[in-house]
Amino acid sequence: MRRFAELLDRLVLTPARNGKLRLLADYFKAVPDPDRGYALAALTGGLDFPSVKPAMLRALVSERMDEVLFAYSYDYVGDLAETISLVWPAPDVAEQDAPPLGTVVETLNRVSRSDAPTVMADLLDRLDPSARFALIKLATGGLRIGVSARLAKQALAAMGGKDIGEIEELWHGLDVPYEPLFAWLEGRAGKPESAARALFRPVMLAHPVGEGDLEKLDPTNYVAEWKWDGIRVQAVSEGGVKRLYSRTGDEISDAFPDLMDAIGEDIALDGELLVGDPREKTGSFSDLQQRLNRKSVSKRMLADYPVFMRCYDLLQRGDEDVRPRPFTERRALLHEVLPALDPRRFDLSPLVEFTDWAELEDRRSNPPHPVIEGVMLKRRDAAYLPGRPKGPWFKWKRDPFTVDAVLMYAQRGHGKRSSYYSDYTFGVWAGAEDDPQLVPVGKAYFGFTDEELKLIDKYVRDNTVERFGPVRSVRAEPGHGLVLEVAFEGLNRSTRHKSGVAMRFPRIARLRWDKPAAEADRIEALTALLAE
């Protein structure tokens, strides 16, 4: 447990991606099985201990300390696991008594819900603050230490001198604690043969169209298709096993039984998950949100928000892996296979006709459907390649909407921003022209650089009007205030917000130190967008 805790501590304090990769690869090299395999599972989200819940840990702490003092502590630290690890009243313990990671994981795997509090309390008593932090992160899932599953796989690839694509393809056929995988990476055994079916295929991703990119491309080499505003998924069926994956290879089948039932036999499709009936109506992203992040779905939900997949690409047909074929061939095959599938659940993403970039620009700016967020450009002769190769695919998103708003409230961030005022509520003017009032229209906590964050943080501290716990209200009057240019993807009507609107994906596009607060936008600028 000590080594694992140390790894987490060092990962947190190591900003550079390469440094993290080295720490991970060194750890995997130095630590024996099964501990390193459990660590890998923890980093890639492969462990689940349903008996341990954050609420249970809070209850354990509240048996041991005053709840108000805990609340102050949590507010200050900003991270539940770290707070508990620091305030846990533990006796001083000898380091050698701390259990190894493998033992901890096996204990947590076996523990029943009723025994879990006693077992967790006993483990916490035997660890120092740093190992307590690691234990809680491990037990409650979601380490959130700036290491993605992909980075961990990258470290494995580096450790074994393999390509990350190979590891991603194998991944879903492997079991914790991954002993055959490590044996292969260390050259002690061959590549693990997977008996598992319907494995994930690493997804092909696009680069955004950058300044001057298009001039270098010949439009006749590319086809364009709409970029739909849903979530990118991969549906795979093999030998009766059917799975739905997110673009990062996480399995999400359980949340979408309606779609799973309709996947045909021996096929792998790449497409966009959307809500509605493709023959009649494509629902908005907020409709789709009703279906996301759920472990189970009610009948009502299935009826009100049915999902379907708008297919972009074909990866497998029967026994043939069609990924090496050119896009145009894959597209033709997709045409052939789709009619056999349920038309309520699958359709084909249409192509966008164009002869030159100017014409495509015009179509991109005036999409035929509100759920379109831009166009995709795909090279006709390109194979389906894992990752984000430069050249074959581009995404060309619709320009975001922007509004000039005034900073009204700032809240201290959590995590690495726990001492910065980094979450901003902003408003636009409403009411009489000669006596305007600010109404809050949204909240954003990114889009600015670290340097800008420091400047806004200072502005907030220098212009505080009132403090409510972690929130400060900031001076915001026609004659004095900070104007933020806010970019957002769309606007929904909202009954929960006083302004009546809710922004999608708002972020700070620019700080307008130069602009007088009185010249920020009025609410009518936003309501006009709703009417469209």
Partner: protein, 336 residues
């Protein structure tokens, strides 16, 4: 006499009406009693200053000889009449010369602790609890999350890192009065005999500490014109915290940033500052020291100032001690 008639907060600082003086005023006043030499407590420009001899010396080093019109030294424990009240200075264990100030009149005693700590510190006199009716405590680390480990464990980690990364210069950010000398003293006690490089901002204070008989070993100036790729590799460089991650460190070999501070208990604090080796080392009382000290003073009433006041007030409530925040302004110890 009611406590608030003996001491009360004013915008300038804590004021004693019958004695007509301020304690640690943040603006220039007629008569000031100073607990210790840190800049937010000891400012220049008061007409008359009463403080320990060491604190007066430190103020002179920082502000020049004319930092006040008149200066009077108070020995620890000496009782001094000020108008209708009696004041006395008692060791606070914070930095060299630091004192708590007891103010008494009409059978009522209030102790203003200034900044204090209870952990052992070879560079200053240890804190002495003073029985009182009202105890004014700091609360820099007034949250249960702040528990400072034994200081020698923390400096042992620094010594281990020097062996582990002999190719890197270890730049230790430490407050230039007190913390810096304490880190050096702890390194010496831990067996680190090599010369230690110090930033120019630490030079005079460190020399003063040495003059007071505090053993700091061989110190060399870190501030030279040109760096080389191997300068100070495997050596300790002590500097004010503000230089960590600053261009100043570029003159040294692959600088590894170390920060000696009580804030390093919070992971994200270390991360924000780009600290690679956090040392939890503080000259302020941690949560356990704060609460133990409040009990030891026997005070029936506690006033809490600078820091996390609300949590300490809450603790007092739970433990049946009357408490309130003082809301004094001007003391914020981010660089601690």
């Amino acid at each position: 006499m009611k406590p608030q008639d003996l001491l009360r907060p004013r915008p300038e600082g804590l004021y004693c009406p019958p004695g007509d003086f301020f304690i640690d005023p943040v603006r220039a006043v007629d008569r000031a009693l100073i607990t210790h030499g840190h800049a937010d407590h000891a400012r220049a420009g008061h007409r008359a200053v009463l403080a320990t001899k060491e604190t007066l010396d430190i103020m002179r080093l920082r502000y020049g000889n004319d930092f006040a019109e008149t200066r009077q030294a108070a020995a620890y424990g000496e009782r001094i009449g000020m108008g209708g009240v009696t004041v006395s200075f008692h060791p606070a264990g914070h930095v060299l010369g630091s004192a708590q100030i007891a103010v008494e009149a009409g059978g009522l005693r209030i102790v203003a602790s200034g900044d204090y700590k209870r952990h052992v510190d070879a560079t200053c006199a240890p804190f002495e609890p003073v029985r009182c009716d009202v105890f004014i405590t700091e609360a820099t680390f007034g949250l249960p999350v702040f528990v400072h480990p034994a200081p020698e464990i923390e400096t042992a980690r620094l010594i281990a890192s020097l062996a582990q990364f002999p190719e890197r210069a270890h730049i230790v950010g430490a407050y230039s009065l007190g913390k810096a000398q304490r880190v050096i003293s702890l390194l010496r006690a831990g067996g680190h005999d090599a010369p230690i490089l110090i930033h120019g901002a630490l030079a005079r204070i460190s020399r003063y500490y040495q003059g007071q008989g505090i053993k700091l070993g061989r110190l060399e100036p870190a501030t030279v014109e040109e760096g080389t790729a191997t300068r100070a590799a495997g050596q300790v460089v002590v500097a004010p915290p503000s230089v960590l991650g600053d261009r100043w460190t570029r003159r040294f070999a692959d600088p590894l940033s170390v920060f000696a501070s009580g804030w390093m208990r919070i992971r994200q604090r270390a991360k924000q500052r780009g600290v690679e080796l956090p040392l939890i080392l503080s000259d302020h009382a941690d949560w356990n020291e704060l609460t133990a000290t409040i009990r030891e003073t026997g005070a029936g009433e506690v006033w809490v100032t600078h820091g996390r006041e609300e949590a300490l007030v809450r603790w007092c409530e739970i433990n049946g001690i009357a408490a309130r925040p003082l809301n004094l302004v001007g003391y914020e110890d981010e660089a601690e």
